[in-house]
């Protein structure tokens, strides 16, 4: 799945109710907070819509009965309704904050949890930045929108009903006149909110390209400089940024048209009230306007109602747009949440893990030792149709170090990935002591693994903390012992602040070689039963490598090891060397045997070493080394 396919996921047409229902399950723990908020919203809307009516009472009293006591009574009611508003606002924000921050936390935790279980095939298809957006902006957006959406819809519906109810109650004929602005208000809102949503989506899409472009610009800064293409890069970027400007401007203009239209309709409502109300007043008055028909108070109340009409409609329309816009976020999040990891412990294994006694050998009750690993007729493809391994057989016993040799893409790393159960065979089985490894616990296997990759990843922190990652309980002495064992102690001690040197983001402050020996020490500290070294020392200088080599030989004792390397010196001492080509073993044996066989390994080996020797002799290499 390429990123463009992923973008397809974002194309959303209608309001997706089942999706929102799923999202609402994250609101469940906060139903009390949401309930209080919504209840308050109802209450506030109900009393707020009564305010113009009280104004009417005050006016009519002032012009008619002129009862001072009544006046202050009405004023008291007015003020007490007003007193409710700040309290309600306080409650809204407080509880919306509770729900929004809590939901964001829960959604993030759940998504993070999910990501810890998803298989690598999932990661292979999605860039890290894409996944990160789920945990950051998407969760934030959803969690902050939902409470306000619930509140404003509840408030808006009651408020509109309240306004309409009071108007009908005061004078139903006049009310119907004023209501004529509602249909255009609704139509305009729907049309423009749709437009706004579309242009918003376009803007967001370009925005993500813009972000990627910044990222590339920063990461590739040196390459850009060495190619002297700063100007070209900038020109490419400008193309993007100006289309961003155009879309964003379009979006702004759409809302610049919408808001004045809605407000103008509100004023027209007031005009209608004045005209029809005034005429009603005019017809019935004849001096004493108050007894029949429309009173002055009613007229003023009507105009105030007309003025407020558009506020809840506009507010609700905006919330709906927000929600629609967030639907893409919701969809992507739910897609992540509902993705089933393909590599998990089976029910059976989980059951056994539950039953296993605490003191048992392994957490799933099985044997803790791994005596042998057996590939039995294993076939594997990362993508359908692109078989990397086919009918692969291999048995490795405890204490054996297996070296895998072969050209790039021959399948060496795949074998390592399968051993680590980062991927599972698409055909055949992998057996641990004769038991299919799918019948053992995944975390048990992986906690018995030590893996060192060509481009090892370190976490920001010190060298010491990074090595400790192999065994969180390790003491400083144990950490140094592990480094000593792999021949890296001196090199680490020689760093600026020794073991307390900060390695930087992803280990960026260390050289690749330095990262590699830290990673090796980390793996050794874990005391794994299976050690996988995939070009683990390719960037280490030869002398350090040799020291590491000696250390590794000690480390390998009693373990199962897979070593992948281009440098043949690294693999010369392996117990068995497999020459892999297109996913098959084409040669197998130890160094001496393979040399004697004069096959692929022999030619590979001689090509490198004999060439060096011959050339050395040509240029006068002294006889007898050290």
């Amino acid at each position: 799945m390429s990123l463009e396919d992923i973008e397809h996921e974002e194309r959303i047409v209608a309001f997706d109710w089942p999706l929102w229902k799923q999202i609402l399950t994250y609101a469940k723990p906060y139903r009390r907070a949401l309930g209080i908020m919504i209840g308050c919203g109802f209450g506030l809307a109900a009393v707020e819509s009564g305010l113009p009516y009280i104004t009417k009472l005050i006016i009519d009293n002032a012009l008619g009965a002129k009862e001072t006591a009544d006046h202050w009574r009405y004023c008291a009611i007015y003020a007490s309704i007003f007193a409710c508003i700040p309290i309600a606002v306080f409650i809204f924000i407080w509880f919306a904050g509770r729900a929004a921050t809590g939901m964001a936390y829960d959604i993030r935790a759940a998504a993070f949890d999910k990501l810890q279980t998803l298989s690598f095939s999932y990661y292979d298809e999605r860039p890290v930045g894409w996944l990160m957006a789920r945990l950051t902006s998407d969760s934030q957006k959803l969690a902050s929108i939902l409470p306000w959406f619930c509140l404003d819809i509840a408030w808006g519906v009651v408020y509109i009903s309240g306004i309409m109810g009071w108007m009908l109650f005061l004078d139903w004929q006049l009310a119907l006149w004023v209501f004529t602005i509602v249909p255009p208000l609704a139509v305009i809102s729907v049309i423009f909110q749709r437009k706004l949503m579309r242009s918003q989506r376009e803007t967001r899409k370009i925005n993500s390209k813009l972000t990627a472009s910044f990222n590339e610009g920063i990461v590739g800064e040196r390459t850009t400089k060495t190619l002297s293409r700063e100007a070209d890069s900038l020109a490419e970027f400008q193309e993007l940024s100006s289309s961003m400007r155009d879309y964003s401007r379009r979006n702004l203009l759409q809302s610049a048209v919408y808001l004045p239209m809605v407000m103008a309709l509100g004023s027209i409502g007031v005009a209608l009230a004045l005209w029809r109300g005034g005429e009603a007043l005019g017809v019935d008055v004849g001096g004493a306007a108050l007894a029949v028909g429309v009173s002055f108070g009613t007229l003023v109340a009507f105009m105030q109602y007309a003025l407020q009409f558009h506020i809840p409609i506009q507010e609700m329309a905006e919330r709906f747009t927000q929600l629609q816009a967030a639907q893409a976020s919701a969809e992507r999040l739910m897609q992540l949440m509902t993705t089933e990891p393909t590599i998990v412990d089976s029910e059976e294994v989980l059951e056994r893990m539950r039953l296993a006694e605490p003191g048992a050998a392994a957490i799933d009750g099985g044997s803790n030792r791994i005596e042998s690993i057996q590939f039995e007729n294993v076939t594997f493809a990362y993508k359908k149709g692109e078989t990397v391994l086919s009918n692969f057989d291999l048995t490795v016993r405890q204490g054996e170090a297996i070296a895998l040799v072969g050209a790039t893409g021959s399948g060496k790393s795949t074998i390592a990935n399968l051993v680590a159960r980062f991927y599972e065979p698409t055909g055949g089985r992998i057996l641990l002591d004769g038991v299919d490894y799918k019948e053992r616990s995944l975390s048990w296997l992986q906690s018995n693994l030590g893996i060192v990759l060509q481009t090892p990843h370190l976490f920001s922190g010190t060298v010491r903390e990074n090595i400790r990652y192999g065994n969180l309980a390790a003491t400083d002495a144990e950490i140094e012992a592990a480094a000593e064992l792999v021949g890296a102690h001196d090199a680490i001690a020689g760093l600026d602040r020794g073991y307390d040197t900060e390695v930087g983001e992803a280990g960026g402050l260390l050289s690749m070689g330095q990262r590699q020996f830290v990673a090796l020490a980390r793996a050794v500290l874990a005391d794994p039963q299976i050690l996988i070294m995939d070009e683990a020392t390719s960037s280490v200088d030869t002398e350090t490598e040799q020291r590491m080599q000696r250390g590794v030989e000690v480390v390998l004792e009693g373990r199962i090891a897979f070593i992948i390397a281009h440098r043949l010196s690294t693999i010369r001492n392996a117990d068995r060397i497999l020459v892999i080509d297109h996913g098959r073993i084409i040669e197998e044996g130890n160094h001496a045997h393979l040399l004697a066989a004069k096959g692929h390994y022999y030619s590979l080996y001689t090509k490198q070493f004999v060439r060096e020797q011959e050339e050395g002799l040509l240029r006068g290499r002294p006889s007898g080394g050290e």
Binding site: I59, A62, C75, Y78, F82, I87, V89, F92, I93, G97, T101, A104, F112, L115, Q116, F120, Y123, M132, L135, T211, E216, I218, K225, T226, L227, E230, L234, S241, R245, L253, S255, A264, L274, G278, V285, F296, V300, M303, A407, T408, L449, S460, Y469, L472, E505, A523, S539, V540, D541, T542, E543, A596, A597, G599, L604, E615, G616, R619, P622, G625
Partner: protein, 609 residues
């Protein structure tokens, strides 16, 4: 204050547009007042049983016609109101148009400047800065500024005007009522100013917490293989949960402050409205206030309270914008790479490189290069060998002027590098770095970056020399295959070879291979090196490598350790000396297993399929 000045400077060239936007908004607001004034006139001057005799009302009514005629034709007022409403709408739109145009122009300019600046910042800036942080400054912080510019700049203008303009208008209508209607304003403004600081501080906390949480996610996701390999999921969960919780709590703190802020400012505003309603109503009852005027004040107080009440928001946004401009400014204020004043005419170099007692440290650390001296002749191949961290790459970086030496001089063709433009130096150099970077373009476009005019044939040729043609042809889309996040992921070796093809496409004065074949298998490497040897003499070549096979043909080899040159000479000379080079040679070339004794092993090792 200097931050406000910065925002002001940012608006340069577009200030007139903003001014026009504010004027439009003011006209729109005035029209809205006028709309509210019409019912005042109608009620007091036309509808009232005893029409007001105030000259203000009478003259206003006279504008429309005689009182009796108007009483029967109230639609006239309605029509005027509707007309004014449309006009107000138009000016509101105009305000949006002007503000949007100005803002988007400023922002596009700001983005371009940032991007360009980032490309020109020196290497040590990028060494220290975190990518995610820079990206965030260039995207979210710019967005914060954009939102501020597009709405709040004009709002500030409006809030100021609304008060200024409404005041005389209200005074004209009724002085006592004006006092009643504005007496709560000073405390509201004062209160907003106090809270502005608190809200801004909270925002900062939330931002920081969010940043920490984002980094935690990023680290976990990029290191997911390590997490799995050590089965450290629980540890990671805990680590993340902590950052997640800190973010939640600081976010809630912000909500708390906001809930206090809004409820209290609402209370003050509503107290103001209540005062107008109550006191005005009393005067109406007492007969000292016209019903129309009463209506006007009821509406007007809402109209000017709205922007005042929004002042809290404006100030909060202003606070965010000042933080954002600081963060963006930090990038823009960092000095970019500068070139020598006199840029000599560009042209090819002969390719004689001299390092003369060059010393370099990163910050206050131990020297990475310690009095390094060497010279190459034009067309020569120089190889550099040494343990990790011995300073090999630093030599390359100094040559490319990613850094400048702390002492000593680097010369090319006898001229100090500091007198040569960086641009020219880099243009005349083709480099393949240790971890080469490919752009998210097609493979062909990536290779063509080496020389923009190259034909497809030349690209294929370069790819063939770099031994990557075959791998590329195996892709479904061949040379049209997209590289990077949106396309295929190339292996380390493929990336290195593609970058090599890119470098080979050019005809530089200087070719640098910085350990750039480390992920390529030996056989392929051999082929590549052979091809490269055929270019010997066409340009000066510098090769950094660990494998002796890579270096063996070099005219000169430097053995580096701890930033010092331990040995120098060609292969023959170095092998005959005692020292690091010979030790490495012995290690790499020794065949510890003597020729095996044939028969047995041959029997055991058939070719197996």
């Amino acid at each position: 204050m200097h931050r406000l000045l910065r925002i002001w400077n940012l608006m340069a060239g577009h200030r007139l547009r903003y001014a026009a936007a504010i004027v439009s908004l003011i006209i729109a607001s005035a029209l809205l007042y006028a709309i509210q004034y019409i019912p005042t006139v109608v009620i007091d001057g036309v509808l009232a049983a005893e029409p007001s005799t105030e000259s203000r009302v009478e003259s206003s009514v006279a504008l429309f016609g005689s009182r009796d005629w108007l009483r029967d034709n109230l639609w006239v007022f309605a029509a005027v109101m509707a007309g004014l409403a449309v006009a107000a709408g138009f000016f509101t739109y105009l305000r949006g148009l002007l503000a949007a145009t100005a803002t988007e122009s400023i922002v596009v300019d700001l983005r371009d400047r940032l991007f360009s600046h980032l490309l020109h910042l020196p290497a040590d800036y990028h060494d220290k800065a975190e990518t995610g942080d820079l990206v965030q400054r260039c995207t979210s912080d710019v967005e914060t500024l954009r939102l501020f510019l597009v709405s709040q700049v004009v709002e500030i203008g409006r809030a100021a005007f609304m008060l200024a303009a409404a005041f005389p208008f209200m005074l004209w209508i009724d002085m006592r009522m004006t006092l009643v209607a504005t007496c709560c304003l000073p405390p509201i403004v004062f209160f907003c100013l106090i809270f502005f600081r608190r809200v801004r501080d909270r925002f900062k906390h939330v931002d920081e917490a969010e940043g920490a949480m984002t980094s935690a996610v990023q680290e976990n996701l990029t290191g997911i293989r390590v997490v799995r390999a050590f089965a450290r999921q629980d540890f990671e969960r805990e680590k993340f949960a902590e950052k997640n919780a800190v973010h939640r709590d600081s976010d809630f703190q912000l909500y708390k402050v906001l809930s206090q802020f809004w409820s209290i400012s609402d209370f003050l505003c509503l107290a103001q409205v209540s005062l107008v309603t109550g006191v005005g109503g009393y005067w109406l009852l007492a007969g000292s206030l016209g019903i129309g005027s009463y209506y006007f004040f009821l509406s007007a107080v809402n109209m000017f309270l709205w922007p005042v009440r929004m002042m809290g928001r404006i100030l909060a946004d202003l606070g965010k914008a000042t933080v954002a401009i600081d963060r963006v400014g930090e990038i823009l204020d960092s000095p970019v790479e500068t070139d020598a004043e006199v840029e000599p005419a560009s042209g090819r170099f002969e390719g004689a490189i001299t390092f003369d007692n060059v010393t370099f440290h990163h910050g206050n650390q131990k020297p990475v290069l310690d009095e390094v001296s060497f010279t190459t002749k034009p067309g020569e191949t120089l190889a550099i060998l040494g343990p990790s961290g011995s300073g090999k790459s630093t030599i390359i970086h100094l040559l490319l002027r990613f850094y400048d030496p702390d002492s000593g001089t680097v010369r090319i063709d006898g001229r100090p590098l500091s007198e040569i433009g960086r641009k020219q130096m880099r243009r005349e150099t083709s480099v393949v770095l240790q971890e080469p970077f490919l752009f998210s373009k097609t493979i062909q476009e990536n290779i063509r970056l080496g020389r923009s005019g190259a034909s497809d044939g030349e690209i294929v040729e370069a790819a063939s020399i770099a031994c990557v043609h075959e791998s590329i042809s195996e892709f479904e889309d061949g040379y049209e295959t997209l590289v990077g996040e949106r396309g295929v992921t190339l292996s380390g070796g493929q990336r290195q070879r593609t970058a090599l093809a890119r470098a080979l496409l050019d005809e530089p004065s200087l070719m640098i291979l910085d350990d750039s074949l480390s992920a390529v298998d030996t056989e392929t490497e051999h082929l590549i090196l052979q091809a490269l040897r055929q270019r010997h003499g066409r340009h000066t070549t510098i090769i950094v490598a660990h494998r002796l096979s890579t270096l063996i043909h070099a005219d000169q080899i430097l053995v580096l350790d701890h930033g010092r040159v331990l040995q120098r000479g060609n292969h023959r000379e170095l092998v005959s000396q005692d020292g690091l080079y010979r030790r490495i040679w012995n290690i790499q070339s020794a065949m510890p297993d003597a020729e095996p004794d044939g028969s047995e092993s041959r029997a055991k090792n058939g070719v197996r399929r």
